[in-house]
Symmetry: C2
Subunit: 433 residues, 2 copies
């Protein structure tokens, strides 16, 4: 449908950038914020797309098929109504910051690129910034803490959870935490922030239920809430996750309104539940599907299996499907195997250490999840387990698939196939298709 | 079946070692040949297995169920018959060396660990060894050439083929060749060895149809032929590949005789043909299946899809399924996409360069093959494509699977999913399950 008129409304000053690249920009590995931009407004315009920057969508009239937008760039912030035949709501999420004394005032969030530019300017301009408290130990919090240490600062992570990175099982998070601490990152778990003390307008100290932490700067990485208020106001259903309900064609429950990205629910194909997973990889795929469907084409987003990876202090962390904690919560009947192996053939120098876990359903042998935590290039291995989870492949078949082998890349039995083999035995199944 | 009496007959001085590790031993990355041994004869014996070392099986009487073995360790080489209920023939393959003047006399083969020990001792003991000619440019030839360069020697590869590494398409082998040449390895293609000249019993020169190459040492890596003569003599069928015909339970065509490893045929599940693929990963899986079945259990080896990887001069080479050359030879109706990308997010330093190719069947969109050649940790990505090939996954589904993403590991669209997306468009299909 090349004849369609496409108009994009963007609240911030940047279009189409890599949010996942922000920690590398903060750490200085990437020199210029513009390097994270995939397509500028000018590039979109050159492709025939109308782009309104620093413009916020504030209301939708689904009957009239108009969206009210506000120009944030002009002082008087004028509003106007843009008509649409189809509306795609792709407004993402916003940092979830509790209303604690001083926290919102002094806590830096780094959800958008302009916020990252602001934080880095602060870190670089102020000679006083040496001690930084990072609140939250998910992917973003840990990546930012590493970035700060790379800048020569002292980073303390505070999280009320008893473990870092709750997306993996606690016992596998422990060696990761050891690695972070070995790199000089202080980790305070099971500790809740209560308030922030300041002096002369500057942040000084973070007060928790278990102590006080001197802090020149605070970075908040406490998760994000889907931006759903505007479409919800137009009648779009919001699910129990707080994100918009959409079908596989990315249609909301209101005719003419589609949604994609961090603000929507997806189906977790292993758990059989609706989830809100805020990852760029899903946002990109959902955006592609929505674009095709809105333009009259045929496409469907199948759902997710919870695949995620990160690299922290030369360690790699990868997960897909269900953890033991999640499988237990769902009351599933499964077996799990856990073992330690190497990332290369064991006889090679620097063979690395990898902690491996895999879960499979009793009876069928269907792979339910896998986790890999360790040194060496192992993160992308998780994709094989992700495909197994998504396609319902069972361990007895998985272990005999023709996966690659050469000594620089692992043992002659692939890590995941060792796991599948152990699970086959554990479950009393037979290795075959 | 723990009560079974198991007897192993091994011609050489080592049991159960990593043949794929030999180039790293030759290069000096691994100090001691014993480091490549996974299980020693003593370890097998401790597990209750009788092991006859330096003992060769020379004939099978399938009716009497006996195997005649010869003791190579004793001067008179005495023979005797060992009775069996079930016989597993896992004798591998032997180097395929043409009968050219001087070639068999002076050419070192490195198929077994004792041959590797011999070559390394030769390289280390002789101050004269500086120029080495390697005949053959498959995985082994290239890995050995790199090992020689790492030892400070001058390596020249000679191959009659017009490209290195015939397991990938010629246009993708070209940048790999550039990389080898940049590391100081001379590559002479389309050139056939005719004879070897010596003087005073030492190798001096390799004569080809296109010139003469001074050589202090010659290493032969010209492929291997399955060791099938003994079971063939007992009536076991040999297929057109020259390897033993076996069923999914690894049974040969003669009752009571099983076979596994480099000496057997497998089914190529993409090409739908019988093939002889000599890789440790298949040998291990086939051995496992044969062991289970012989012991009265239930197992089946499904076949292969041609997955293979290697690392050469910091480049990684990975392939699965069919190349364009192979698909054309089979007369298949397919589309192929080829593009260049990076191994990390493009904005990161050292993002690397990866040449990507994928093939899919017209009509169904089924993935037929993929190749990855480039710098950075990309080889193991091929396993995802291998699973797609083996399970018959189509590009329209593949592109929307939940694969992992973080900037250190690639772009937000996984390399293979970019390929699948391009193929979906090329084939006029719709992205969905």
């Amino acid at each position: 449908m090349p004849e369609a008129e496409v108009t994009v409304v963007e609240r911030g000053p940047y279009t189409s950038y890599s949010m996942c690249g922000i920690p590398y920009y903060i750490g200085g590995l990437i020199g210029d914020a513009e390097d994270l931009v995939v397509r500028t407004p000018e590039e979109f315009r050159a492709a025939g797309i109308t782009v309104h920057m620093r413009t916020e969508a504030v209301a939708i009239d689904a009957d009239a098929r108009t969206v009210r937008v506000r120009d944030l760039g002009a002082d008087e912030r004028p509003q106007r109504d843009l008509p649409y035949d189809a509306l795609l709501w792709a407004a993402g999420a916003h940092p979830d910051v509790p209303d604690l004394p001083g926290l919102r005032r002094h806590g830096h969030v780094v959800h958008t690129l302009d916020e990252a530019v602001h934080l880095r300017a602060h870190l670089e301009s102020s000679a006083q910034v040496e001690r930084v408290v990072v609140v939250g130990s998910g992917y973003v919090g840990l990546e930012i803490a590493e970035a700060l240490v790379q800048r020569g600062m002292r980073a303390t992570i505070i999280d009320r959870s008893p473990q870092v990175m709750k997306t993996i099982d606690a016992d596998l998070a422990r060696p990761l935490q050891d690695q972070l601490e070995a790199r000089g990152i202080a980790v305070r778990l099971g500790e809740s922030v209560l308030e922030v003390h300041d002096a002369d307008g500057d942040c000084r100290e973070v007060i928790t239920d278990r102590g006080r932490h001197a802090a020149d700067t605070i970075v908040l990485a406490m998760g994000h809430r889907p931006n759903v208020d505007v479409p919800a106001g137009a009648g779009c259903a919001v699910g129990p996750t707080g994100a918009l309900v959409v079908d596989p064609q990315m249609r909301t429950t209101v005719d003419g309104i589609w949604a994609a990205g961090d603000c929507v629910e997806s189906t977790d194909l292993v758990a059989g539940q609706r989830v809100n997973v805020q990852l760029g990889t899903h946002a990109n795929k959902q955006g592609k599907v929505a674009g095709i469907v809105v333009a009259g084409g045929d496409a469907a987003f199948p759902g997710v299996v919870g695949t995620a990876v990160t690299k922290l202090c030369d360690w790699e962390v990868a997960r897909t499907g269900l953890t033991i904690a999640e499988a237990d919560q769902l009351g599933l009947d499964y077996a799990a195997v856990t073992f330690t192996s190497s990332a290369k053939a064991g006889y090679l120098p620097d063979a690395g250490t990898v902690h491996v876990r895999m879960l499979a359903e009793r009876g069928t042998g269907r792979v339910l999840g896998a986790q890999l935590v360790g040194s060496g290039p192992i993160a992308k291995h998780i994709d094989v387990a992700a495909v197994w989870c998504q396609l319902g492949v069972a361990v007895q078949q998985a272990q005999l698939l023709d996966l690659s082998y050469a000594p620089p890349f692992g043992g002659v039995w692939d890590l995941l196939q060792v796991a599948a083999r152990k699970l086959t035995k554990e479950l009393g199944l037979h290795p075959q298709i």
